[in-house]
Symmetry: D2
Subunit: 339 residues, 4 copies
């Protein structure tokens, strides 16, 4: 931590700040400059709360050097984490994973048909929501535990692991029972109680970035899960909220190579929620591969125009099958070291 | 709802859209224009899901006229709602309410001292967090139920109602038992399960705007609570996330007169979380009064430099007392119809 | 400047960075910590370009302590600047200034009528656009020099100084000839050539914040003008672009007290462009007073519904007269030290 | 255009709005609904100014159906535009174009060496800034006309067309004389006078998206140029400003397929300015190819660590040569219809 003093801070003020640092059990190292003095703080283990310092007289600014996360940082854990989902591997040295399925489990017929479609096309994990967060109270809210069972049944039929969202702690046991991956949605990225409970399981977790979460906040949320003892976290970029509203969100693809530098956790991309438009899903999925994503998650519905949620962003079975073919071409090219 | 067709949409495409509208039990009214045709949709009760329409051939855009909220809308309920918190009234025809107290309940001594301070200065409701959402897992997480009890004890001593945040459904019974107002934090504004459960109580609720929530989403979140039968909702603007990071958030004060036009619910302002800087709290609190807020919520700590959370944005007892004096001057001026 | 090294940076890397700092004529001061080493940079006069450092092996981050502006900083110039516009004073110890008039000068009759209205109501400076930036090419683009002459004529008739926007350098002579204050619009806030030319005059300048400009960029733009020798700069907050689009922009009022801390320049607020809605102009104007603005600029049109631009945000003569009355009440209260 | 009336708007109000529409020479078509009446506006040619309508009593909202641009819209001009830059073609049916070179022309030696490097690696157009917009007044501002001459000299030596930014109208003649493509920077995207003057030439123009410009504003800016008679416009996505500041901007790649749907103009991507970090340039450049960009523009500097501007985001010669190899692999794959 670095305390930047005002241009005209007095020696007494500098001394007082140094003493306050000492009172926190840390060491102060003043760095006099031509324009102002800064005071380095030494001896801390990780992030330091600056409350006792930032309002002291003469202090202009407090600059944090340590980040509020450490377990997820590549700086401290250079080796890449590989998350194993029932034999499907997310991480470096493994091919990108394709997760696909409908936004919601709507009926037995629908999820079985979707499972057939995505399996035939080449998906490796089946997705489907049983508990749905919806912006308005008058929309379809999901089938609940019944949806979980249907999802599992569909997964078993086509021999695919399944992923579904857990929205609250009381659902956790049921979701753990039926799903191979626990999805934490964007709206829950900072539901810290839920993160902690999920961290107490060993279940693989797919953690979506909050729609206005910085990279630092995203990694700090993952830190909550690792701090409880669960290292099996897959990060998921799904678009951020910006002034641009022609697309549902703005897919921040640069976050993929950036997080690969900053963290050892695998990261996947959800182009369906990010764009909200069917025609943009395939190009952005391919772009995700190219920037180094460890997987993608796309919405596929047997009959998108009749979907109970998010139909407009869902691929048809044919569209998805074509996308998988193209992704495999890309993958082969990349595996050959050509891209 | 209005379906805007492409410039060169064929008559068959227009007909197909009209038929799809009919299949939804609604009426289509084509509006031919010089450049393109639009198709009005009649007969709907409230918001219509556009999934079955927006991807039909020839459709360029779907424009929603109805909003996803209705119960909270002033359009349908012109009369202002007044929320009664143990005799303290939020709403038109009532003076703005001052809510004050520390970010967190830290100890018996601290909350009692804070209660004395804010009561003496003129606050009408005591705030204090027992369950705390924190960005990183290594920060102080609140005292839990013990904190609730201390808050209630402090409120009783100084004869003030109390408000505290409820973060998850399992905490709801305890919070209802000890608190007069249930606070839903910004991170939980779209925790729809929690909103529904809170909606099943009759407890007054203070609903904070999510940090990247549009006004429409904010009002839709309140709709969840009203839809379950609880009309006692107080909205709270607490700053939105923007590119500007010198302040913690950007306090969007224009939302106050705007929401007064759009909704019948009372709205208060939290200048402490919005700005994150002590020196900005008093000016923004006064500005909130002037734009018509039904109250403010400010952080006050007996010893901000030793606060376990958010000390840097907390007022001291003296600072708060001075602010109340100035707010009362403003209030008198406004009550006299002079401003 | 502070160079933060990676956790596992080698001593050779630390040494190489120190030498690179030395090669820039500056001194390096390593600050070894428990987790990583940081290297303080001493001896710089102001902002340092970090290009030669930030990509050296082992460097994790470069943190700037000095700001890219100095002349506008209160840190170095504690005394408040007062800008004198033909006897109307902007700055501390002076009452807030009211600037009013139509978005555009449309005709002799319109601007004369507007001048009469705003003068009668109590405005101290008349505004009116002669050169207009418009988002689309098919909109009214302003009367040009003819508009300047009409504005000056109207100002003279009612004995008010006038302000108008200068959009390009070739207009500068004409605008200087006819106007008392040169307005730099939000879109030109980083038109550095224009800033420099304006800086070579002694004319008062009203510099609007760019719609996505940080406070640091805003102050840096003002620095351009001061660096050329013109100290007569009035800053103007006019709303920033955020995800919220119900209002045209989000008026960032906290910037007013914040800039008063950071800079010695006066700052005014434009609630008309910020909100884009007539009903929000008066409350936000009053809020601007309360947070310490040195003035406001509002759009007033004799017949808003027939205005050629921005009519929907313009006050009528009556609305403006009522606002001035209320602002004077507020001002009296504040002058009495009561707020 | 659609006028949405309030729920409780009276018949008189509906009639008054209809009459106001008639007074504008347009036809009103009321669409009564179960909750409210909407009024369609017929007979307009393109975008209609709503000033005279939106504040009439009973009006809740005005919804625009027509866009403020038409010449750039694919809706009206389905055939793709191909822009020819001295034989290098931007547009569908042509391979993506690689533009490369230093941020600024710094010296004869530097630009000649850069030209050699980028030519050898496979670039098709040489870039280099002669006039530089810089955030602070104390930074390197470019070599001006001398820089233009050096850039042209370097281009001729390696037989590449050149592109450089024009910042103001007075520079236009000189830039037209020496450059093959006129670049309009992000800060000037809404410098409408400049757009118009550029529109009067026949020179190819590369128009960068403003850092907070919506897609609609971006296309409207291009409309300015086309409206003056110059159809040779290449759009350029270069990142938008969001709350995320770890990268310089957020590269909005979904804009590429989206603009290809909405407009017939070619679009290229600048990953260097968008990310501001060297390590992100190559992945994002490849992603730009995959989403369908008609070209990329990257910064390459013979010695990035000594660059006078933006060195930290510049590729070295080796890095750039490697990127071109990988892009050509991608291109071959895409040309083969495999991606």
């Amino acid at each position: 931590m670095l305390i930047v003093m005002h241009h005209n801070a007095s020696n007494e003020q500098i001394k007082a700040v140094s003493e306050a640092i000492g009172a926190m059990g840390l060491q102060a190292q003043p760095i006099p400059g031509s324009e102002r003095t800064a005071i380095g703080v030494l001896g801390n283990q990780g992030y330091v709360d600056d409350t006792a310092l930032r309002d002291l007289p003469g202090v202009r600014e407090v600059i944090h050097v340590s980040k509020p996360y450490k377990l997820v940082s590549r700086d401290f854990h250079p080796q890449t984490t590989v998350v194993n989902v029932a034999g499907v591997m997310f991480g470096d040295q493994h091919l990108p994973v394709i997760i696909a399925g409908p936004c919601s489990v709507e009926s037995e017929q629908q999820i079985l048909k979707a499972a057939d479609l995505v399996k035939a096309a080449g998906a490796q994990i089946l997705r489907g929501g049983a508990f749905k967060p919806r912006t308005g109270p008058h929309s379809f809210q999901g089938l609940g535990v019944e949806g979980l069972k249907l999802l599992r049944q569909a997964g078993q039929r086509v021999d695919l692991p399944v992923i579904t969202e857990v929205m609250r702690i009381e659902q956790l046991d049921a979701v753990c029972q039926y799903a191979d991956v626990l999805q934490i949605g964007a709206r829950n990225m900072q539901n810290f109680d839920l993160l902690k409970e999920v961290g107490k399981t060993k279940h693989p977790v797919l953690l979506k970035r909050g729609m206005s979460a910085t990279i630092e906040e995203f990694l700090s949320a993952a830190e909550y899960i690792l701090a409880e003892g669960n290292p099996n976290v897959i990060l998921c970029e799904r678009g951020i909220r910006t002034f641009e509203r022609t697309t549902r969100n703005t897919l921040d693809l640069s976050v993929v190579p950036l997080i690969r530098e900053m963290s050892h956790l695998p990261i996947v991309v959800d182009p369906s929620h990010a764009t909200g438009r069917r025609s943009l899903v395939a190009p952005m999925a391919k772009a995700a591969y190219v920037v180094g994503a460890h997987g993608i998650m796309v919405e596929v519905h047997p009959d998108p125009d009749k979907a109970l949620c998010d139909g407009a962003q869902s691929l048809t079975g044919e569209g998805f099958a074509q996308l998988v073919i193209e992704l495999r071409q890309l993958q082969a090219l990349m595996a050959g070291g050509q891209v």
